[in-house]
Amino acid sequence: MKGLTNYTVKSLRANKVRTLVTVVGVALAAALVCAVFTTFTSLAHFLYEAEASYAGTWMAVADTADAAETEAGLEAAEADASVTGTAVLHQLGYAELTQEQQNRLGQFQAVASVEGDEQGLLSIQPADGRMPQTADEIMLYSGWRTFEGVQLGSRITLPVGQLVGEEFSVPASESSITVTDFGSEEVNGTVEPHVEGAQERTFTVVGFYDKVSYALSDLYGTVALTGQGAGGTGAAQVFMTMADAESAEEVQRTAEELFPDARIELHTALLRYMGIASNASIWSTFYGLVCVLVGVIMLACVSLIFNAFNISVAERIRQFGLLSSVGATRGQLRRAVLLEACLVAVAGIPLGLLLGLGGCWVTFACLGPSIADLAGAMSVPFEVSVDGRMLVLSAALTLLTVLVSAWVPAARASRMNIIDAIRTSGAADISKRGAARAQKAVVPERLWKGGGAGARLFGVGGKLAHITRKRSKAKGRAASVSLALAVVLLMTAGSLSLFLSTLLDAVSDDEPAAEVAVTAQVARDGEPTGEPLTAAGVTEARNASMAAQKAFYQDAFDDLAAMPNALPVGWRLSGRMPAVLPADVAGSGYDGENVAIGQKMADGSVATEARVFYVEDGAFDAYAESLGLDAAAFHEAGAPRAIGIRQAYGNDGQTYQLLETLAAPGNVTMLTAGVYDGTLPVKFDLGAVGTAPEDRGFVPYLEWGNQQVSPGEVLSMADVEVATTSIEVAAIADEPPAIAGGWGESAKLIVPMSLADELCLTEEQPMFRSFFNPIDGDHAALAQELNDAGHAYFQRDGSPFEMSFVSYNDYRAEADSNQMLATVVNVFCLLFTGILALIALANVFNTVTNSLILRRREFAVMRSVGMSTRQFRRMIADECTGFGIAGLVPGLILSVGVAYLLWLTVSLSLGGFGFVFPWAYAGIAVAMTAVAMGIAVAYGMHRCRADNVVEALRTE
């Protein structure tokens, strides 16, 4: 066997480049498998760390009713070796907050003291100051700082007592732990909680916390922490962590044994990320994904390594014959090839593991902050987490891939016929069809004629290449298949990237006019009610309110625009208004059944909710003029005119897509007001009271109700007095002005702000949105400044309106976040497919160069009878162009299929965009093919040309 080992090593050395390419292929395979597993373990580690950072490392919590139960449980926990840590939150009680405080912090302030490992187990950390140490010190949620006089060192008095009346029922199956989960639970029972036996207690504020961990969240808001010895109700929450727990059930069982009478909750998210929660469906998805990825990698690598060994064995079949003739057994020959595979694996796998870990390290270093940001856990870095077991698994899977790949060639080497093997000359294998073709190619007049485009382009070299292709067995098939695989992988990545961009574009349809916006809306009140009430009266009141709000928002905009870092872009008011579009005005988007954006009525007209945008006069005039319209004609409130936008996003019953909403100019009837029973204003919903076309249209309902009619109850249009205003849609534009956002989801009408002085075209209070760019480029700072300034302006004392809300949008940050998501997905996608494509290209290289090298004697013969270098080069170029085309064309065709399937999948949920073929990636695929073929040919030719003709001719 030692002799064969030496032979194997020498064989590998004899063809250094093929050995190197195969080792690189194995290394890439190991790198990819390792990268997939490392990404998986890193993600699992990251999710665990993020959860631990957010909620702490506790695994179970017991809600005890009194001090005795708490003490007994803690003693039992201390005696239990499986419990490795505890933290106790002793409840002191609740304080009912003032009305002003309630607006920001909730109705009650829970007060508790903490004992034990509050940092690790409960993830409680002061953002400012320190933890309280005595009973008269307190740490508050940082939201308290918004109240005047609340700061570090200040004293705060809270009326702390017992909260009673909170009889809530939480389904036992929902052992959730997060604030949001808890808060969203259905509440049963009496809900009139109040504090009894309150005693005023004064604390010194020693710290503030920002992060509301589970322990610091409460049904009514946040928990204020004070030091031990502050007394309390005796009830507590005992948090525990355990070692060596193998299942969530075991954790639950242990906690129940320690606290038999307490309600136990598990930290299911943490247990899930630890991999011990039974309902770990997230891991099933991950495992599935990992299996698919590893499967694809192994398949691609088997193709490469099998091919490399197949060529290697074919090249040396004569040597195997000789070895066999001098006594090598079949087993020895098979083992010689498998040994070769093992040696390649031994060289490639460690290199691959290092490459995989290094690649992950670099990728995570670049993308880690983005991933952590996307996951909302900036404080926890997304880093490479190395798991030794995964490295061993990666190595084992790669070794398995190599051995599986080498098995068939090894078997072939062991089964060859000695005589045939010795006689073989390494010459081209002729196919039966090729021999038949040769028999026919004897017509004197047609000798050396034909040969197709290759012959015309490459002369006699092309003709020879053509003959080789037509007559020899398909040596380039493996190269072509590999190339096709590389092309499909690349194009699939391209299609995914393209569709992802399209999806992101569609999702972020509302193209912002600037980087930052401040949005506000007046609270919903002031609607006239009582008797007698007419629709005309309601309209008049709404018109007056609209004018007042316009003036109010104009001042607001001027105020915000005065911010030193703000470059004002403009502002708008917008709202929805029930409208009837005549049949000739309504677009085709309303034609289908179940369209979400409107109801086609019996007479062909369409009931819809128009979105009316009042745009600053200057911006409106510029927009109108850009469309070739007379802007001045739009400013007359007596004869209101609007510019309609042709399309809007909507659901045509199947897919979400851009639909035509407005087809042609015409008069649109707006339902400016409706009054029921002469006493109550009504609202209009789109809908149908029956199934017939005449039943479709508007459904009036009462928002407030009276003694006869409940709020929300559907009324008949016949019972409602309706006021209408006709507005002329004077022109249809393809695109809205930037300040009016994107397509929207309903018929969009653009009017000048001057109309707001006299005409209200919104059913609800109009939405104010103003746009600004940062002068210094710091959009985040500007957003914060504008938000503060907005709150200060809108919520100032003496403001004429009470606000429903004031908020800001940092569009730039949103766009960055979307971009980040796209980048992260694209980078992972491209890295994965890129490396797989590299493996496939290594296969192409191996196949092409070896098929050339195997024919070195044939080439030497041609050169000896007068083939020039140029002719030789042209022949090889033609042959390889053939390989390239044979891989590229099916690859591209298959890619079109894959891209189309992807498009179909995306179109199931989002329509309106046509099928787009990723031409750029097709270009890259062509370039990649050319480069791969170019390198393979250059190397193969170099090897063949470097041959001494005399030596090559002697080769047997």
């Binding site: 010459a427 081209a428 002729i430 090729g434 021999a435 040769a438 028999q439 026919k440 190619a441 004897v442 004197p444 000798l447 050396w448 002369g459 006699v460 003709k463 020879l464 003959i467 080789t468 007559r471 020899s472 004697r857 044939e858 030497a860 013969v861 041609m862 050169r863 000896s864 009878v865 007068g866 083939m867 020039s868 270098t869 140029r870 002719q871 001494n948 003709v949 005399v950 001719l953 047997e956």
Partner: protein
């Protein structure tokens, strides 16, 4: 002027200690229509000499003159043209292109030269070489003797100035050897084809007009055969 003249031809392979002198200052000339046999033991340098005469290798020093023109003063591409037009090479192991059939192999140098195939010559060669009926056969479908006939046909197709044959019968049985030698002799005598044949078979050598013996890269004997 001799048709083919070899002047002080030296070929050294390798460098330093591994240096091998394959040919050492060899000089001789071949006249038009002459049949020359070059004999010598294995490794004596006779094949190297033939390859240098055929323009498939370059000498370390010395010249090869064909009709007074220095073969190795040519560029690589000019040498390729030289091999197509001026010489015909026949090898021991036939060296046919496996994917080409009989007529394609025979006419390959013509095709490489971009010229039309001389059909009467092709027909005549097929008849002479006994390959009629096997025009469409691939090398793998032919016997060794037949393959060597195709190789001779290829060498003769362009009516070269000289045919250089390296052990043309070395891989054939006695009957085929005799037939091949007869073909070469006939080419020489009937067509007046200048012929240089390498052999270590004294009997074959005696059929030539002249025998040049090479040993250790040097000519040790150069004698004409008197009949």
């Amino acid at each position: 002027m001799s048709m083919l003249a070899v002047s002080h031809l030296t070929k050294i392979y390798g460098e330093g200690e591994s240096q091998t002198i394959a040919l050492d200052d060899v000089t001789f000339a071949v006249e038009e229509g002459e049949f020359v046999a070059i004999v010598g033991s294995s490794g004596s340098g006779k094949s190297t000499l033939l390859h240098l005469m055929g323009g498939v290798d370059r000498p370390t020093s010395g010249k090869v003159l064909l009709n007074g023109s220095d073969v190795y003063a040519r560029t690589d591409d000019e040498l390729a043209v030289f091999r197509r037009r001026e010489v015909g090479l026949v090898y021991q192991f036939y060296n046919l292109v496996p994917v080409l059939n009989v007529v394609e192999n025979m006419t390959l140098p013509v095709a490489l030269d971009g010229r039309a195939v001389n059909q009467p010559r092709l027909a005549s060669l097929l008849d002479t070489l006994g390959l009629r009926g096997r025009e469409g056969h691939l090398p793998s479908q032919l016997s060794g003797g037949q393959q060597q006939r195709v190789a001779i046909g290829r060498a003769l197709m362009n009516a070269p100035a000289v045919v250089l044959a390296d052990e043309p019968t070395g891989n054939l049985d006695t009957k085929n050897s005799a037939e091949i030698m007869q073909l070469l002799r006939d080419s020489n005598r009937v067509l007046g084809q200048t012929m240089v044949v390498i052999t270590h078979d004294e009997e074959i050598a005696l059929a030539a007009d002249r025998v040049i013996a090479v040993e250790d890269g040097r000519i040790v004997r150069d004698e004409r055969i008197r009949r």
